[in-house]
């Protein structure tokens, strides 16, 4: 019986995902990042470890920001956050880990090697490799991402790769405009769509 349920769940998951096919490959993952952008509307708590003052700035060890709003919640942490002495609006972050619950059955995790939050320009630049993954198996990998926290826009001029059980999409550049809900991949895209029944053979 369990395998039938699993198959049924897989089928219904696949049907749901099939509907999201191309938009899903792009949109769903970006939802995660947008989830992070909508941080301020949550009840949030900020905690961090010892603070030290070093040559390059005020260093916070293991800063962690978390919050929840109904069944939506997020937790964002980093190994270190360094507020620059030269420009206190700039906070450099090392090894960012973000886990977001967007709804009861939709969780997304984001890992970035490095980031810089510019409170003046309200931007968050993630760099040196970003991995995003959802609990339903979609994955995305970016070289870098610029998140405009005020408008929710996300840009990258580095390669973006999306994979899911349905296939994969590779693009040289990406723009996501949250207001219009438009996701644009440009400078060359390549997409492979794996038909559903082949997927279950794997």
């Amino acid at each position: 019986m369990a395998s039938a349920q699993r198959a049924a769940r897989r089928h219904s998951r696949r049907v749901r995902l099939l509907r999201l096919l191309i938009p899903g490959l792009g949109g769903l993952l970006l939802l995660a990042i947008i989830g992070a952008v909508a941080v301020n509307s949550y009840l949030s708590s900020l905690g961090f470890g010892p603070i030290s003052l070093t040559a390059d700035g005020l260093v916070m060890d293991n800063p962690e920001l978390s919050g929840h709003d109904g069944d939506r919640s997020y937790r964002v942490s980093a190994d270190r956050a360094i507020q620059r002495i030269s420009d206190p609006r700039m906070i450099d972050l090392e090894r960012i880990v973000a886990d977001l619950r967007l709804s009861a059955d939709q969780q997304v995790s984001l890992r970035a090697v490095r980031g810089t939050y510019n409170s003046g320009a309200e931007t968050l630049d993630l760099a040196d490799g970003i991995d995003v993954e959802t609990n339903t198996g979609e994955k995305a990998r970016f070289g870098s991402l610029r998140v405009f926290l005020d408008s929710g826009r996300i840009d990258t001029d580095d390669a973006a790769t999306f994979t899911s059980s349905f296939g994969s999409l590779r693009a040289a550049r990406m723009r996501f405009n949250q207001k219009t809900g438009t996701l644009t991949f440009s400078d060359g895209i390549s997409m492979t769509v794996i038909p559903p029944n082949q997927e279950s053979k794997r």
Partner: protein, 158 residues
Amino acid sequence: QTFSDAFAGFGSNDREPIQIEAKELKVQDKSQSAVFSGDVVVTQGEATLKTQRLIVHYDGSAAGGVNQRISRLEASGRVYIASKDQTATGENATFDMNRQLMVMTGKEVVLSQGPNVVVGNRLTVNLKTGQADLEAPKSGRVKVLIQPKSLNEGAPRN
């Protein structure tokens, strides 16, 4: 003279992966559509579609019918379709996945198989049976109707 059912299954064959290359892809969640543009090449098995612009429409009913999937494809701009030994070129082509129909239009829709070339202005292909109907403008030019199942020189049945 017959055209094999080369076009049968184009777009509705869901066994082989589909490969899509293009310069740009714009996904609009609200309108449930994805627009590929710039030297778009779609390949699946032996079938190839080339066009300048391809709009993919989704069944959008939020009620979530069972077979939620691509409902329509609209290709425009130097549309070239090739499948097995048959090619068709025109200005626009639409694939209605629900009715399994492809309609290609243009001033000159050229359907060819090997040496045989027929020109009309509207080609309708039943994607399930592969039956292709090529219509010519009313200017009295001969209308060519191609029967897939008529006798042909022992072409292998596939």
